[in-house]
Amino acid sequence: MENYVYIALFAPLAGSLFAALFSQRPKALVTGVVTSTLLFISFVASVILLNHVHHEGAVHVTLMDWISAGDMSIPFGFNIDQVTAVMMTVVTLVSTVVHVYSNGYMDHDKSFNRFFSYLSAFVFSMMVLVMSDNFLGLFIGWEGVGVCSWLLIGFWYHKADVTRDVNPSISPSWAANEAFIMNRIADLGMLVGIFLIYWNIGSLQYADVFAAVPSMNHGMLVTIGIFLFIGAMGKSAQFPLHTWLADAMEGPTPVSALIHAATMVTAGVYLVIRANPLYSAIPEVSYFIAVLGTFVAIFAASMALVNRDLKRIIAYSTLSQLGYMFAAAGLGAYWVALFHLAAHAFFKALLFLGAGNVMHAMDDELDIFKMGGLKKAMRWTYLYMGLASLALAGIWPLAGFFSKDTILEAAFNEHTYGIWLVLWFTAGLTAFYSFRQVFLTFAGDERYKPLGFHPHEVQKYVLWALSPLAILAVIFGWFKEPFMEFVTQFLPAYEMSEHTEHNVVILTVVTTAIALGGIIFAWMRYYKGLKRDEKVEQSLPYRILLNQYYIPILYERVFSKPYAALSKVFWEDVDQQVVDATVDGIASVIQESGDSSRKIQTGNLSDYLKLMSGGALVLVALVLFAAMQN
């Protein structure tokens, strides 16, 4: 089994290195094919491991004693338990599809090879993140995905900055930096958490750490839990660190699908699930996580209601769904969170890749107000996106129905009716904005015609490549029971109380009703075509939502601008005169000491001999003093 672990882990790395070899060369199809194939191999290995874990239990591999300095010893190993196996399978499956898809999507990009190198490197980092058996390995993978994400968001770094009115994300490189900085802030928290763990427990192995949790001081556990969650908030774009995710849509669409929907952003959820013994021990923090998740769910959904940008809508919906996952995890229903994570990965990736098809057809136009009636030209994409939206909206019998419904049940079960109510209402919003988007894009009048677009369906093999996701988006929910049995071998089981069981039918009906209600409302308003209502669009709530609650602008005002102003003050007064002078001073001292010690090296042999003899004299003369001491 060990070999499969290594295959699953290193196949993406091999692909990345292979593609990197060609990075400066013009497009070579071979890079796409090879990386996709290696990813597929990794996927197969993951499935084999999943099966193995299912029947035989967890696999543990120690690669080597990684760091053993002094008393510190951190073995570098991988642990494939139920959670990891699920994550690995989801990650490699979505990645494989995205790789194949990218072959078509990036067809005309001159940095084709570089793209695949980054993409595979990302998958490798993600695998390290999920497979590691200790926090340090997790952190390395965590940083790795951060770097890859930065590279990929900024993939089209040559695009110039524009104002926020034209493009809310300003530019790919701006968005990349924003994502990186936000994540950096959060990672700092995470690093503090890891340090605290090491400080208190003396080990970073999950097994040791979680075994030590019951015997630890509660206050310390809370501190560690909070710091780790700060890390999770950054990666999973939770409020208030959420702004980067929507802006990250500047990256190529396959990237959005892979990183900013299916995998990387779920790392935070994964961390909370992974650290479930810790979070179970600190219910107050867990409750906060659930509340925050609930808030993000509705907060993001509300912004998606009015947005006109195809990808941003999906991005907000991702945010919203991440909120659901955190809500579930925070309520202690870890397996439900994982279940929603997997289901969401499938239909959200499908949705994004469908959006990519639309973008392709529309020459990178993203404004859904300029689309409409695309279903004629893009029948398959319409089908895929429709399916994915149904799944997202939570319509029976698609995947989203089962996962979201279970989260709602869990909220009900915990008697946190407030959370339940908000999540329930959000389900309606979700259905509405999903179908608003679908209908505005595919149904109604063909608004793109006057604008001179000539949409066409994408290549056949790309559509075929999407089919696994479509199938899973439909059927994944049917495996809820086996899935639960499988992962609860490792995760704590979550049982619904009698009371909930009793009401489950009512709950289901109520949830489905609001989802259907959302869809019907969208259908009524948008199926026939776009009827813009000036009054609504000018209304304050609408503008607030459209401007993302003015949070990015707020950040700019509260943080960036004063920071810039402060920086200016610091720069002019403090920095230039004090810090700069100090730093320059140190630099020039070093430089000068380099320059002056350079004088030793006169080039004249005689001086060298003198120096050498002088050194010898000092050494021997030293003896006299040393001997006097004895």
């Binding site: 006169t602 004249n604 042999l605 005689s606 003899s613």
Partner: protein, 100 residues
């Protein structure tokens, strides 16, 4: 009565003289003379110690030092001839391109 210390002190003085030569000479040939003096000083110390301890090891070392000195002369003079043929000088002040 001449003791081992007498010989060793003489050897130390000769070594110092050799060292003066090494740091003072600019002419490489004459600099090599000075290194010979240093090796000879060591030879003397070895021979004297050997004699006073009735132990032959010192003479062995001195013997090998002579062999090394002879070899060094061969290589050193080879280098000097090369330099002289190329640059017409064996003054080490003339070889200071590389510095800093």
């Amino acid at each position: 009565m001449i003791t081992l210390n007498h010989y060793l002190i003489l050897s130390g003085l000769l070594f110092a003289i050799g060292l003066v030569g090494v740091v003072r000479r600019k002419n490489l040939l004459m600099l090599f003379f000075a290194t010979e003096i240093m090796l000879n000083a060591a030879n003397l110390a070895f021979a004297a110690t050997s004699s006073y301890y009735h132990d032959l090891t010192g003479q062995m070392f001195a013997f090998f030092i002579i062999a090394v000195a002879a070899s060094e002369v061969a290589v050193g003079l080879g280098l000097l001839i090369l330099l002289y043929k190329k640059y017409g000088s064996i003054n080490l002040d003339d070889f200071t391109i590389m510095k800093g």
